[in-house]
Structures are given as C-alpha cells and as structure tokens.
Symmetry: C2
Subunit: 418 residues, 2 copies
C-alpha cells in the first residue's frame, strides 16, 4: 500500500506526527486527505464530491495516474450528462495537477508536527457536526492549534464577527456579547481579525469561556501578526483552526472560503459592526445559504461601521440583536430573562383614572361624564381599583391614591420605567 510511492510506515509516521488516525489500513487515507488540503483551494466542491464518493486515496491515485474515467463515472452516476461530467473532471484535474507533488505535503506535515499542529478529519471524534450542512464544500480536513478537546465546544457555539475598522461602540458590544455567551457556556467563534473579532476572542478568554478562531491561512503563522499573542492565548484554552496546511498564505479567496467555516461551525452568526462592503456580510450570507440564523447588532445610522448591519436588518431579514440573550434565542436556545413589554392597560380603567385627581374628590356621575362612560361601569371600576389601593373614597367623591402604581402608563413617554 503506497501513496506517492511512500511506504505505509512513512505514511503512519507522518499521520502520527499530527495525531491523526494511525490504524495501518487508514494511514494512507489520512495522508491522502492531508495531501488534498495541499492540492485544492477551500470549498472546491468537485474535490468534495469526488472524495465523498470514492474516498481520498482512490481519488488521489486517479489524479496521479491521470485516469479521469472512474472520476467521471461519479458524475454520470449522479445523472449529469456525459459531456458535462467529462468537462467537470477534466477541469478539476487541470487545476489540481499543477500542485501535485509529494514534497510540499511532507513539508507541511513536518512543519505542523514541529509546531504541535494536529489534524482532524470527517468522521473523527469532535469533527464539527455543523459542517455537514456545507455538503461537498465541507472541508476535507482541518489543521488545529490547541486542545482537540475544545472541538467539543463547537456543539454549542455562536459566531461573533464584524469589521476590522470597528468603533469603540462596536468593540464594547462585541465584548458584552462574547462575555455573556461565555458565561452561559456558549463557545464564541470568530475570525481572529482586528476589531470586532479580536474583541470577541478577548472577552471570551476574559470570561474563561471557550473561543475558536478560524484563520484563512496556514497555522505556521498567526495572521494578522498584531494578533499573534491573542491567537496564541486562544489556542491555549480553545482552538485556532485552518483548512489550509501550514505554509499557505491567506488570500482574498481563502478569506471568503474561511467565512463559510465560521458560519457552518456555529448555530448562529451575529454581525456586530460591518461597513457596507464588509467581509462579515459574506459570512452572514454563507450562514443564510445553509439555513443558519443570522443576527445583526444595530448602531447609530450615522455610523458607517454599522451600515452593513442595517443592510442585513433591512434586506436580509437578519434578527436585531441587542444582548447575549438575544443571540442565544437566535440560535434556538431559551432566553434567560424576558424583557417587559408594552402592554396597553384596560382602556376603561385608563379612562376612569384619567378623570380622577389626587386631591379633590370627584363624584361618580361627574367621573362618568368626564370619561364618557356609563355611571354603573365607572362605579364597578372604582370598586375594583379601591381594592387594589389605586383609588379611595373621600367626602367629596373619589381620588387617586398618590404614588400608587396605575395599571396604565404614560402613553406618549419615551422614558423607560424599571
């Protein structure tokens, strides 16, 4: 059993060095998956489809042997017409072959081993269940820095993402949200960038929660460099994850691909601040595309840093998020407390109380005339309100009890009553 003419012992040694499955019969498969992460760009659905159908090793053997026919059969079996099937596979082989070489793969694995980077693949314990929603765009394998046990936290995670060019307001809200989620045992997923992402990671760490950063480039270098210390701290208790191998630089395309991982690893995605062209909107669109709820934190309409959030609220049916409780509800969880709401009081009661003063007593028929109600009804309500200590009888009629809590409220007031 050989891949790239490497003996299986070498494959096992390489797999073991990144703590991947090492049973003799699977070592070649693991090695093939790691190879595929070198060959393809993130989200290559043709690769995903091929590996899912005939396995990573067989797929790799076909590519090495330049034998597309069995691969074409995969699409024919799906009912794709023969010319299109051939085209799909020929194109794919054409884009994968330029990178086909054993050296870069071995180098990536050795570099990973040197840095304590490990590999996890679909089917392994802890493989994020949420990735299944990506279908053939599911990552082929993940490279991790940090404790693999933190993968478990992704069963209950929310992504908090946003602009690098954040404002103090946005960072404050990201901090509050992430801290609140951490306190409730929810993992915070983000992209490790400056601004909102960094605030979310930092607040989760401060609250001793689990936070997971998905990066666009290989984990040999933390990007951006200014967040190196933060990402090293993230890896200490949580995880830093990439689907590309060590040595691969982050590119625009890889950022876009990485965004789908943020969305798919999380039960919900919350955008805290985003300019009108922010990449966070791309993450939100990935979440919407796989049916995950998306929330957006509003901000001043005068702030360009919130314009993308407002756009999500206006045009994409994003849910307005103002607190960690809102975010948990967005993800389908129970709110911890309920905000008291506007609830109109009984109109008849409002009318009777409108007619009463706190000093001078007023006769029932006077109250009836003033409130436009029947005498009997007024008397009935006054009797009920008397029991509730809201009104009382005086010599000259009825008065409101000063300081009593009326079962209505100022109907045109902007003040919040606590």
């Amino acid at each position: 059993m050989r891949v790239f003419d490497l003996p299986v012992e070498d494959l096992r040694r390489l797999a073991e060095s990144v703590r991947a499955e090492t049973a003799p019969e699977s070592a070649a498969d693991v090695f093939a998956r790691m190879t595929w992460t070198v060959l393809v760009e993130p989200g290559d659905q043709v690769a995903g489809q091929l590996l899912g159908s005939i396995g990573p090793r067989r797929s790799l053997e076909l590519l090495i042997a330049q034998d597309p026919s069995p691969a074409i059969d995969v699409w024919l079996a799906e009912g794709v017409d023969p010319r299109r099937a051939e085209r799909i596979v020929t194109d794919a082989f054409g884009r994968w072959r330029p990178r086909l070489a054993v050296r870069p793969v071995v180098r990536a694995i050795e570099q990973a081993a040197g840095l304590g980077i490990t590999v996890v693949q679909p089917g392994d314990e802890g493989w994020p269940a949420g990735f299944a929603a990506l279908g053939p765009a599911e990552p082929i394998a993940l490279w991790l820095r940090g404790g693999r046990s933190a993968l478990e936290a992704l069963t209950r995670a929310i992504a908090i993402v946003g602009a690098r060019a954040s404002t103090g307001y946005g960072e404050y809200v990201a901090t509050e949200l992430a801290g609140g989620l951490a306190e409730r045992g929810v993992a915070v997923v983000s992209g490790g960038a400056y601004g909102i992402d960094a605030a979310a990671h930092r607040a989760t760490l401060a609250a001793e929660g689990v936070t997971v950063a998905f990066l666009a480039g290989g984990l040999d270098r933390y990007y951006p460099a200014g967040n190196s210390d933060l990402l090293a701290r993230v890896a200490r208790t949580g995880l830093v994850i990439a689907e590309v191998p060590p040595g691969v630089p982050p590119t625009k395309f890889r950022f876009l691909g990485r965004n789908r991982l943020l969305a798919a690893a999380s039960a919900a995605t919350v955008v805290v601040e985003a300019g009108i062209r922010s990449g966070s909107l791309n993450t939100a669109h990935h979440a919407l595309a796989i049916g995950r709820p998306v929330g957006a934190v509003p901000g001043p309409v005068t702030s360009p840093a919130s314009a993308g959030c407002h756009r999500l609220l206006r045009e994409e049916n994003a849910v307005c998020i103002t607190s960690a409780d809102d975010a948990i509800e967005l993800a389908g969880g129970d709110r911890h407390d309920e905000v008291a709401g506007y609830e109109p009081a009984d109109p008849a009661v409002v009318r009777v109380l409108d007619a009463l003063g706190v000093r001078r007593g007023r006769a029932v028929d006077d109250v009836a005339r003033s409130s436009g109600m029947a005498v009997g009804e007024v008397l009935g309500i006054l009797t009920l309100l008397e029991v509730a200590d809201v009104v009382r009888r005086v010599d000259s009629g009825w008065v409101r009890v000063p300081g009593s809590r009326a079962p209505g409220r100022d109907p045109h007031s902007g003040e919040r009553r606590r």
Copy 2:
C-alpha cells in the same frame, strides 16, 4: 327640522362659523356630528357603527329620545344575537347620556369660531382617505387649526414619531428624516410632543415642507405648552388637528386614541427613538393593525431610548430605517438612489488576482499552481483582465496594474469604500 330644539337657522349659523357644510338640509347633520365629538371618547366603535348606519342626526335623536330599539336593529341586521345587540346599545347609551346637553356643544363651536378653528367631516373634500382603514373607529369629525388646503398633503404623508425623552442622536436623525421627506414633497405627520415629534415638525418647517400635528386634546390650548410657538407655526403652513372639540383636555386615553390617527393619516409610520414602554410603540401597533408599514430607526443597543425601536425590529417585523429614502421606500415609493451593495466578484478572478503582485512578474503556470487553477483557465482570465487594464504583461510574466480597481474587494474589511 330641529336638533336639541335648536332652529335650523341657529344650526346653519353655528356650522358656518366653523366653515362646515351649510346647505340647509345638511346643517343639522353637521351640527349632530360636532355634537357627537362632544359626547364620545375617541375611537368609540359603537358610535362609529351607528352613525355609519343611520346617520349622525337620527342617531342623536334616538339618544335624546332614549329610544334604543332602532339602534339595536343596526346590530341585529349585522347578525348579532338579540341579547348582545341590546347590551351593546344600552351600554353605549349609558355612557353617552351623561354628556348629553346642548350647552357644551354650542360653547365648543363658539370657542372654535373665535379661534379660527374649523371642522371637517367624512365626505368633505380633503377628508383623509387613509382614515377609512379605521372602519367604525374612524373619527366622527376633525377640528382643525390651519389652512384646510393642507389636508391635501395627507395623500402623501409619513408619520415620524418617537420618544419625548429623546437623545441628541434621535433628534438629529428625526431632523434628517423629516427634512429629507419635506424636500421630496412628502408631508410629515407627528404628535406635537417634545423630543422626536418636535424635531420632526421643526425640520419640516425649516425645509418649507408641510407638517401636520395630531393632538390628543382640544385645540383651544396647544399641548404641551412649551411647544405652543412651534404648533402655532405648524398651523401657519400646515395643520394642527384634533378629533375632540375645544375645551377637552388631553388624557392618557385620548393620547392612545390620537395615536391611531397618526397611523391612519400616514402611508407609513417611522419610530425614531422609543423607550421600551414608549407610546410610540402604541402608534406603531395601530399602524400594523391597519396593515400600514412600520419602520424603526436603530440606535446604539446601549441606549435605552432606542430599546423600543430594537424591539419593533426584533419582534414586530418593523423595517430598519436609516434615511429618508428608506422611509419613502417603506411607504411604497421609489428610492431616489441605490446603496451599492456587497456583491462577491467572480471567485476565479479573485484567485488569479490573489496570486499576482504589482512588481515582480509571475509566469502563468506559477499563477496556476498558486491559485489552484488550471493553466488554461488562468490564461483566459488574465487575458480578460488585461483588456480591463487590471493586469499587464511584463518580461517575467504578469503583474497587477497598481491602483486599478480590482473586481473584488477586501473580504474582511470593515471600511466603507466610496
């Protein structure tokens, strides 16, 4: 023809004094309507139903004669069961009778005439068509201060409402919205209160637009007193309107009733700032109840003055409003300009551009390997981009043209590009 034993000449004189319809056969009807605005509280649906079925004068005659049977027949004809029909009318007569007297009606009309207040009733030219949505809660008549011709503006009006306890931010946004609507020929409807309402009226006047204030109390006194000068200015070019006659003080109940007029007179309602218990939410609920669109302006989630707006966005499907254009679109109009949006570029183009620098040229097969694409595809894209002046050939291969506008964008940036 007499009402309250007043000869028809008196009725005509009184009607004429408030510039209401004065044809001999209608003078008694007009007088009866004005009487009904004295007898009932805002939104009395039983009165609305009765007047709509048998007319204001006949309804009044039955009340004076204490003859409920013909009134009960109105509900029987609607299929209401006899006991309930009797109960509805008996209750209504019970609440209307305490106020039944000719003197207060004549006094209200004379007071109106003295202040230049006029009356408009359903069917009159300029009667706001939007009120029809209120059904039996449609106002029986309106008392106006200002030029009746301004009623015409209500055919194209948007309500801007909000907290009295507004912030500088809220007042700024209300000013921008109202000014923007005025410039586009849209009338601004509001409630004449401190805070957001005042800012909306003031900005409309400053932009020489038409603004209409609906008050909860009679127009003999402007409420709140601190806005007297502002409301007097509103009446000079626009209108101040109440459904209750002069001399009637504003009460909580009348504020709630007034709110339905704000909603019904406007094609859409926008809440700018509102605490969690603000009366503006009541106005928004009235709008939703009659199927009118509701918008809410977001603000910082840290601001209690925006909490009611965020609640509308979260729980009532209100539309997020950030500009006058948004408000016009909310009301079903055309936007004047379109905000440029996030639109992902062709992924293959992004991948090719990712692989190029602006200085050192790169060979096509090198670009192919680096971007994970086939050589042929890379060459095709480079050729297209060369035509668009985004890339060019150099000795050593291909480079990006510095400063060229790439058909992608920074995928994780919060900055707004203008």
